[in-house]
C-alpha cells in the first residue's frame, strides 16, 4: 500500500466550483420544462409569455407576493423536514398531512377552549398543543412500526384518512361555524394569533420556522442524534452493532417528524386562518415529499428547495387569472420540472463520465 498524502476533504474552492457546475443542469431542466409547457399553452390558444410572467414574478414583484410566498414556505419547509428526517433513518413518513391536521386540531382546541387567555399564555399553549398532537399522531405509526412491524407507509396513509374524518367532525359538528359555507371551526381567541409584522403583514411563524430550519440543519450535521439518524438510514445493522439503538432512533425520527408537521398545522391555525378548516392540509404533503427528495434528504437544502417550490406554487396559482391558461397546466408544469430536474442529474453523470473517460484514455 503506497501512502499518499490524503486531504480531509476537497478544498472550499473545489467544492464551490462543483456546486456551481452542478447547478447548471438544474437551471437547464427548469428552462426545458417551461419550453414544453409554453408549447402546450400556445397550442391551447393562450399567451405563454403572460403565463410565465405570472409564475415567475408573482413572488417578487411586490411585498404582497413575497409575504404570500413566505407564508406558503412555512408549511412546505416543515412538511419537507417531516418527510426528510425519518427518511434519514430509512423510514417513509407519508403521514404529514394527518400529522398536520392533528397539529391544527390541537392548536384550535386550545384556541377555542381557552379563547380568553392572553397571548403570552395562549399562543405558546396553542403551539405546544399542536406540536404534541402531531407528534402523538406520528407516534401511533411509530409504535405500530416498532412494536408490530406494521409498515409505516401503510399506517401513515391510513391514518391520514382517519385524520380527515376527525377534522370533518370537529369542523362541522363540534366547533363548527354555522355561518361558514364549508367545514370550518369558529375562530380562535385573539390571544392565540401569531403576531404579524410589516405591511402587508407577515406572521412571525416565518421567522420561527427560519430559525428552526437553521437549527435543524445544524443539529443534523453536528449532533450525536443527527449522526445516529444518518447511521441508521445508511446501514441499520452496522449502526446497531456499534451501540446505536436503531429502533429508538427510528421511532424518534417519526415523532420529531410528527411534531414538525403538527407545528405546521398549529402555525396555519395561529398565523394564517385563525381557525381550522377542511382542506387546511392543502397539498403540502406531496410537495413536502418532493422537496425532501429533491433536497436528497439534506436538511440544509430543504428550506431553499422549499422556497423555490413556494415561488412556483404561488406564481402558478395566479397564472390562470393572468393568462387564461387552464389551471391543469400548473400540475403539468410542476410534473415536468420535477422530471427534467431529475433527468439533469443523469445528464450531469453522463458528462462527468465522458470527461473522466477522456482523462483516463
Amino acid at each position: 500500500m503506497s501512502t499518499v498524502t490524503v486531504a480531509a476533504r476537497p478544498s472550499v474552492g473545489e467544492r464551490a466550483k462543483a456546486a456551481g457546475v452542478a447547478a447548471i443542469p438544474y437551471i437547464l431542466a427548469v428552462l426545458v420544462a417551461f419550453v414544453v409547457v409554453a408549447i402546450i399553452i400556445a397550442l391551447l390558444g393562450h399567451d405563454p409569455a403572460k403565463a410565465f410572467r405570472a409564475v415567475l414574478t408573482n413572488s417578487f414583484r411586490n411585498r404582497t407576493g413575497m409575504v404570500q410566498t413566505l407564508h406558503k414556505w412555512v408549511p412546505l419547509t416543515l412538511l419537507a423536514l417531516a418527510f426528510a428526517i425519518p427518511l434519514g433513518a430509512g423510514r417513509f413518513n407519508i403521514g404529514g398531512e394527518g400529522q398536520m391536521i392533528l397539529g391544527a386540531t390541537g392548536a384550535v382546541a386550545m384556541g377555542i377552549l381557552l379563547s380568553d387567555l392572553p397571548t403570552v399564555v395562549l399562543l405558546p399553549l396553542l403551539i405546544v398543543a399542536g406540536v404534541a398532537a402531531g407528534a402523538l399522531w406520528a407516534g401511533i405509526s411509530a409504535w405500530l412500526m416498532q412494536q408490530f412491524k406494521v409498515n409505516e407507509i401503510l399506517s401513515t396513509v391510513l391514518l391520514n384518512f382517519v385524520s380527515f374524518e376527525i377534522l370533518d367532525y370537529l369542523a362541522s359538528v363540534v366547533w363548527s361555524d354555522p355561518g361558514a359555507g364549508g367545514a370550518v371551526t369558529t375562530a380562535i381567541g385573539a390571544g392565540g394569533e401569531l403576531p404579524r409584522i410589516g405591511k402587508p403583514p407577515m406572521h412571525i411563524g416565518v421567522i420561527l420556522v427560519a430559525l428552526l430550519a437553521i437549527a435543524a440543519a445544524f443539529y443534523a450535521r453536528r449532533s450525536v442524534a443527527g449522526f445516529e439518524l444518518r447511521a441508521v438510514g445508511l446501514n441499520e445493522r452496522a449502526a446497531k452493532l456499534h451501540g446505536i439503538r436503531t429502533g429508538k432512533v427510528a421511532v424518534m425520527s417519526m415523532i420529531v417528524a410528527g411534531a414538525l408537521a403538527g407545528l405546521a398545522g398549529a402555525i396555519e391555525v395561529a398565523g394564517v386562518h385563525h381557525r381550522m378548516l377542511e382542506g387546511i392540509q392543502s397539498n403540502f404533503l406531496i410537495l413536502g415529499i418532493i422537496i425532501g427528495l429533491i433536497a436528497r434528504g439534506s436538511l440544509t437544502a430543504v428550506p431553499f428547495v422549499a422556497f423555490g417550490i413556494a415561488v412556483l406554487e404561488v406564481g402558478a396559482g395566479s397564472m390562470q387569472r393572468t393568462s387564461g391558461a387552464p389551471v391543469e397546466m400548473v400540475l403539468i408544469l410542476e410534473g415536468l420540472i420535477l422530471l427534467f430536474l431529475l433527468m439533469s442529474d443523469w445528464v450531469t453523470d453522463q458528462l462527468r463520465l465522458r470527461a473522466s473517460r477522456k482523462a483516463a484514455a
Partner: protein, 521 residues
C-alpha cells in the same frame, strides 16, 4: 513461464482466449489490455492481490462489465458477450465472490431461475448433478436458511445446470473449512474430468499449487505471467504477485498459509496476565427450542489471544454478537470485574469491548458515509461534547488514521463503500484501535484480503495483545487460528468445545471437533 496464448498441447485451439481486454471505471483503469487464455480440461488459477483486476476480468467474460476494448474467443470462434445471457449461451458459468442468490427462493428455484423448466424434472436433474459432482444439496430448502458452504455448492450447481464449459470460481474457498475445500477441489476435478475447464481465483498460493494445472498472475490490472504448476514454486508465485520487491519471509509465511503448524511458534512464552474477561454460562435461546449459543464459558487474561475455530454456521456470528453485547443473552460476562450482560451495546463499547464483524460491508461500515464518519461510528457518543460532534477534530484524526493504517483512498471524504475490501478492513481496524479496546473480538478478520493486507492485520492483532488487550479471533480459517492464538477452542453447534494451548493443538483433533465427530469439551 509461457506466452499467455500458448495452449498446452499446442495445436488444439484454447477453450477460451481473451485478448487486449481494457476496462476503466471513471478515472480508474482496472484492466490494462489483459490477455488471458484457458485450455481445455484444465484448472486455471488466477492470482493477484486485492484490486489486481481478477474479478473485473471475469466479470467482463461473464458479460457483467462491458469492456472498453478487447475480444473474446471460445473454442477458437469469436463471441460477443454483452450480458450474462450471452455468456451463459457461450458456455460460461461463474460463481461470484459474493453469492448472487434470491434468499426467499428455494435451492431448486435458484438453480433453474432464468431457464425454461417446462417438461424438465428439475429436482431429478439437480440430484443427478449433485451426485455426479459431489455437491450435496436439498433442492427444497430455502436458500436464506442455508450455511455458506451449501450456498457455495448451489452456486456451482447453477453454472453446471446451464451446461457451462468454463466455470469461473471467484475466491470460492474463503468461506470454507479445510474439509469443504477438499470436497470442492474434488468436485473441480470431477468437472474437469467431464471435459470442462475451471478458472479458480484465489489469494492462497498453497491452494493454487494443490489444485491448478496452470496459473495466470495479475497485478495492478495488468497480466504478469502465465505459468504451469509444474514449473513454479510458491515462493516464485508470491514474488510475482507482490511485485518487484521480493516477498519478506513473514509475508511468504502468510501466503503459504502456515503449512507447518506450530513449529516456529513453540518458543513463544505462554501468556499469564491477570484475568480480564470472564464469561460464564452464556446462552442465547433460538427459535424452536434449540439455543443458538449454548452454555458458553470463557476466560481471558490480559494480552491473551483466544482463537475460536469452527465450520461456518456453527453459531459463530451469534457467539460473536453475544460476547460483544450486540445480542441479548442469559448468563454473565465480566470485564475487569464489571458485569455487562443485560446492558445495552453502548455500555459494552464504553467498557472497552470492541467488535470487528465478519461481514464488513453489511455489519462493519456505513457504505454511503465517508471515512471520517465511519471512524467516528461507535465513538460518537463518548467523544461528543454537549451532544455535538467536533467534526473538525474528527477529520484531522481521520487523516492521521488513514496514514497510520495505510488506507488507500483519495481523501477522508471518500465514501467508505467505494473502498476495496482490504481498505475497508483497515478503516474498521483503525476505528477498533481508536477505541482503546480492553477486549477485542475479530471475526474472520482477513477473509478475502491479499497477502500484504493479511500480514498487516496479523501485526496489528499481535500488537494489540502485546499492549494488554484481550483478543478473541473467531475464524473459519484454521491456519489463521493456529497462527495467531495462544489458546484454541472450537465452535460447534452453538457450543465451545476443546481447549488447547498454543503449540498443543493437533489439527486433526481440531478437525474432528469442528465436524462434531469427537465430543470432547
Amino acid at each position: 513461464m509461457s506466452a499467455p496464448d500458448a495452449a498446452p498441447g499446442g495445436a488444439a485451439p484454447p477453450l477460451l482466449r481473451m485478448r487486449g481486454i481494457r476496462k476503466t471505471f471513471g478515472p480508474v483503469v482496472a484492466l490494462k489490455d489483459v490477455d488471458f487464455t484457458v485450455g481445455p480440461r484444465e484448472v486455471h488459477g488466477l492470482l493477484g492481490g486485492n484490486g489486481a483486476g481478477k474479478t473485473t476480468l471475469m466479470n467482463v467474460l461473464y458479460g457483467l462489465y462491458a469492456p472498453d476494448a478487447g475480444t473474446i474467443e471460445i473454442d477458437g470462434a469469436p463471441v460477443v458477450i454483452a450480458s450474462p445471457k450471452d455468456a451463459i449461451a457461450a458456455g460460461v458459468g461463474m460463481v461470484h465472490q459474493t453469492f448472487l442468490q434470491v434468499d426467499v427462493f428455494t435451492v431448486a428455484e435458484n438453480v433453474v431461475l432464468g431457464t425454461d423448466t417446462s417438461g424438465v424434472d428439475v429436482n431429478g436433474r439437480i440430484r443427478e448433478l449433485s451426485e455426479r459432482f459431489g455437491l450435496a444439496v436439498d433442492p427444497a430448502a430455502r436458500i436464506g436458511d442455508l450455511p455458506v458452504g451449501v450456498r457455495q455448492r448451489v452456486e456451482i450447481l447453477k453454472a453446471l445446470y446451464r451446461g457451462a464449459k468454463i466455470l469461473v470460481l471467484d475466491e470460492p474457498t474463503t468461506n470454507l473449512t479445510p474439509q469443504e475445500v477438499d470436497a470442492l477441489f474434488g468436485s473441480m476435478r470431477a468437472i474437469v474430468d467431464e471435459g470442462m475447464s475451471v478458472v479458480l481465483i484465489t489469494h492462497k498460493i498453497r491452494e493454487t499449487m494443490a489444485a491448478c494445472d496452470r496459473m495466470t498472475i495479475m497485478r495492478d490490472g495488468a497480466w504478469i505471467a502465465t505459468v504451469d504448476a509444474a514449473d513454479t514454486s510458491p515462493e516464485d508465485l508470491a514474488a510475482r504477485m507482490v511485485g518487484a520487491a521480493p516477498a519478506s519471509d513473514e509475508t511468504a509465511d502468510v501466503a503459504l498459509g502456515g503449512t507447518e503448524i506450530g513449529d516456529a511458534t513453540l518458543d513463544v512464552p505462554e501468556v499469564t496476565g491477570p484475568v480480564r474477561v470472564v464469561g460464564s454460562r452464556l446462552t442465547v435461546p433460538g427459535t424452536g427450542g434449540k439455543a443458538v449459543v449454548e452454555d458458553v464459558s470463557i476466560e481471558l487474561c490480559e494480552g491473551e489471544i483466544l482463537g475460536i475455530a469452527g465450520v461456518a454456521g456453527n453459531g459463530q456470528v451469534e457467539l460473536a454478537e453475544t460476547l460483544t453485547g450486540c445480542r441479548p443473552a442469559h448468563g454473565s460476562l465480566t470485564l475487569d470485574g464489571t458485569e455487562l450482560v443485560g446492558r445495552p451495546t453502548e455500555a459494552w463499547l464504553r467498557a472497552g469491548v470492541v467488535y470487528v464483524p465478519e461481514d464488513r460491508q453489511r455489519d462493519g461500515i456505513l457504505p454511503g458515509a465517508d471515512i471520517t464518519e465511519n471512524l467516528v461510528l461507535g465513538a460518537h457518543r463518548t467523544r461528543a461534547k454537549a451532544g455535538l460532534i467536533d467534526w473538525g477534530r474528527a477529520r484531522r484524526e481521520a487523516v492521521e488514521a488513514i496514514s497510520e493504517f495505510a488506507v488507500k483512498t483519495p481523501s477522508a471524504a471518500t465514501a467508505c463503500g467505494q473502498l476495496s475490501g482490504g481498505n475497508i478492513q483497515r478503516v474498521i481496524l483503525a476505528r477498533a484501535f481508536a477505541h482503546n479496546p480492553k477486549m477485542l473480538l475479530l471475526h474472520n478478520p482477513t477473509r478475502g484480503l491479499d497477502i500484504a493486507s493479511t500480514q498487516f492485520v496479523y501485526d496489528r492483532i499481535r500488537a494489540a495483545a502485546a499492549g494488554g488487550c484481550s483478543v478473541i479471533v473467531i475464524s473459519e480459517d484454521l491456519d489463521e487460528v493456529i497462527a495467531l492464538a495462544d489458546r484454541i477452542r472450537v465452535a460447534y453447534s452453538g457450543r465451545l468445545v476443546g481447549d488447547f494451548a498454543r503449540g498443543h493443538a493437533d489439527p486433526y483433533e481440531l478437525g474432528r471437533l469442528m465436524t462434531g465427530v469427537s465430543g470432547a469439551a
